[in-house]
């Protein structure tokens, strides 16, 4: 167990490598109840979120989800988010645990003047994720999805749910918002249930999924899974000192949406000037891990800093993401080294993501 943003979190249940491989080959069961859930509702909820975020939630159909960011006026990233549209006037914004209060506060400020309510509902939800190629098969007999009226396309069965979609329903007989989303690079589902139902849901899933290879997986495996999948982590690749463009995620900024939004001016300037740093993937020619904060050198000179590093079970070597002061293309042929506690270890530029699932 480990302390994280005020929560006691399972770092690993057994071997994090075994948990990682189980998610790639079968499925892993995650307790992600620390994640923040912020409900934004009301006639103007979509318009308020369009103003508050980089994306355009008002254009998301009910029952679908989008990856977005919330930026400061200067374009710096306050958090990266998943936004579910649960109904015409109902949105659920998922924030990182360490940023929930910041995001909730910023949303409330930015929604002032709109007919929309912002409520931090984090303590009303437990979040259990089932991730991996076996997830849909494990969950299908345990999930019932609601039929949800004419403006929602009805979801006949779990397997037909699209990626980045969600629906209300029940898991193991307990009410839940069931979404096909995740942070592992695999197919999978995230189940937002009531805290008092979480233990029951977990116990049933663990028992029913075991035969299909489902194992409990902790935060350590979640981190190596997302890193292999090239997904940024707030605090490592994202923070108030970078805009989405440095992270290679400029596509989340919807300049063509109608109306103003917070950070537009600064983000437009950054979009036209180009990013100040460039997120790159590295593979490390050693067993040693290039960790957050370690320097990257090109032809003997510092050219960047590692943001995340871990062993990659998929590639069999350590991998890392780093911010470099120039685009990776301009480093072709350069000798790259990472300073690992006094030792200069060769590194190689590697396209992100390190791992893509077969579809």
């Amino acid at each position: 167990m480990t302390s994280f943003a005020g929560w006691q979190m399972p770092l690993r249940y057994g071997s994090e490598t075994a948990e990682h491989l189980a998610v790639r080959r079968a499925a892993g069961l995650f307790d992600l109840s620390h994640m923040g859930e912020i409900a934004v509702t009301g006639p103007d909820a979509g318009a308020a979120l369009d103003y508050a975020l980089t994306g355009q939630p008002s254009a998301v159909p009910p029952g679908r989800a989008r990856y977005m960011m919330i930026c400061a006026e200067d374009g710096g990233v306050l958090d990266d988010l998943v936004v579910y549209r649960q109904g015409k006037q109902e949105f659920l914004v998922i924030a990182n645990a360490s940023n929930t209060a910041t995001v909730s506060g910023a949303l409330a400020d930015r929604a002032a003047g709109y007919d929309a309510a912002v409520v931090d509902a984090t303590l009303d939800y437990a979040l259990i994720a089932v991730q991996g190629p076996a997830a849909a098969g494990i969950l299908a007999p345990l999930v019932r999805l609601d039929a949800v009226g004419p403006e929602f396309p009805q979801l006949p069965e779990l397997g037909a749910m699209k990626y980045y979609a969600g629906a209300s329903g029940a898991v193991a007989g307990r009410e839940a918002w069931v979404a096909r989303t995740g942070y592992t690079g695999e197919d999978g589902f995230e189940l937002y249930c009531r805290p008092q139902d979480a233990e029951h849901v977990w116990t049933v899933l663990a028992a029913e999924g075991a035969g299909a290879g489902l194992v409990p997986a902790g935060l350590a495996a979640r981190d190596t899974l997302r890193l292999e999948a090239g997904m940024p982590l707030y605090g490592n690749e994202l923070g108030p000192d970078v805009t989405p463009f440095e992270a290679g995620l400029g596509r989340v900024v919807k300049f063509d949406k109608p109306g103003e939004f917070v950070g537009r001016e600064a983000l437009a300037a950054r979009a036209s000037a180009g990013p100040s740093r460039h997120l790159a993937g590295l593979t490390i020619a050693s067993r040693r891990i290039a960790r957050h904060g370690y320097p990257v050198l090109a032809d003997g000179r510092t050219c960047g800093t590692v943001t995340s590093g871990a062993p990659s079970p998929a590639l069999g070597v350590p991998i890392a993401m780093a911010y470099l002061d120039r685009p990776a293309a301009s480093l072709a042929g350069a000798v790259l080294l990472v300073g690992i506690r006094g030792e200069a270890v060769p590194a190689h530029l590697t396209d992100l993501p390190f791992y893509s699932r077969r579809r």
Binding site: S15, T17, R287, I289
Partner: protein
């Protein structure tokens, strides 16, 4: 968690097994579990002199890097080369195949190994890990 009764321990979670004046050293099952999957072990060079309580290597896991301390004074006579290819032995068999290095320690007046007096017994070490939660 296993704490073999016949070994000596340190508060830094190393174990020591003494035969004559040769001390074999590794990290405990508790330490291996706390670290998580070990991915790299940096060991002292054979011939090097190590000092009790001083760092002489590193144990790197998925999530962290920790110093490896020598529990005894002496000269390194052998290291476990298997760990280079398979550091996961530290997790799988911390007291046997996952051993790390062997030290020749000085003899006391009786010809026995002169060990530091502050090494812990298995019972004392177990107590320590329990109070650490």
């Amino acid at each position: 968690m296993s704490v073999p009764a016949e070994l000596h321990y340190t508060p830094e979670h190393e174990w020591v097994s003494v035969e004559g004046t040769s001390a074999s050293i590794g990290i405990t099952d508790y330490a291996a579990q706390q670290l998580g999957d070990v991915v790299f072990v940096s060991l002292p060079t054979p011939g090097a002199t190590v000092t009790a309580g001083e760092p002489c290597g590193e144990v790197e896991s998925v999530k962290s890097v920790s110093d490896l301390y020598s529990p005894v004074d002496g000269e390194v006579i052998e290291v476990n080369a298997e760990l280079e290819d398979d550091p996961s032995l530290v997790n799988a068999e911390p007291y046997t195949a996952g051993w790390m290095f062997r030290v020749r320690v000085a003899q006391d007046g009786n010809g026995d190994a002169a060990l530091p007096t502050d090494l812990l017994s298995a019972a004392e070490y177990e107590e320590l890990t329990k109070s650490a939660g």
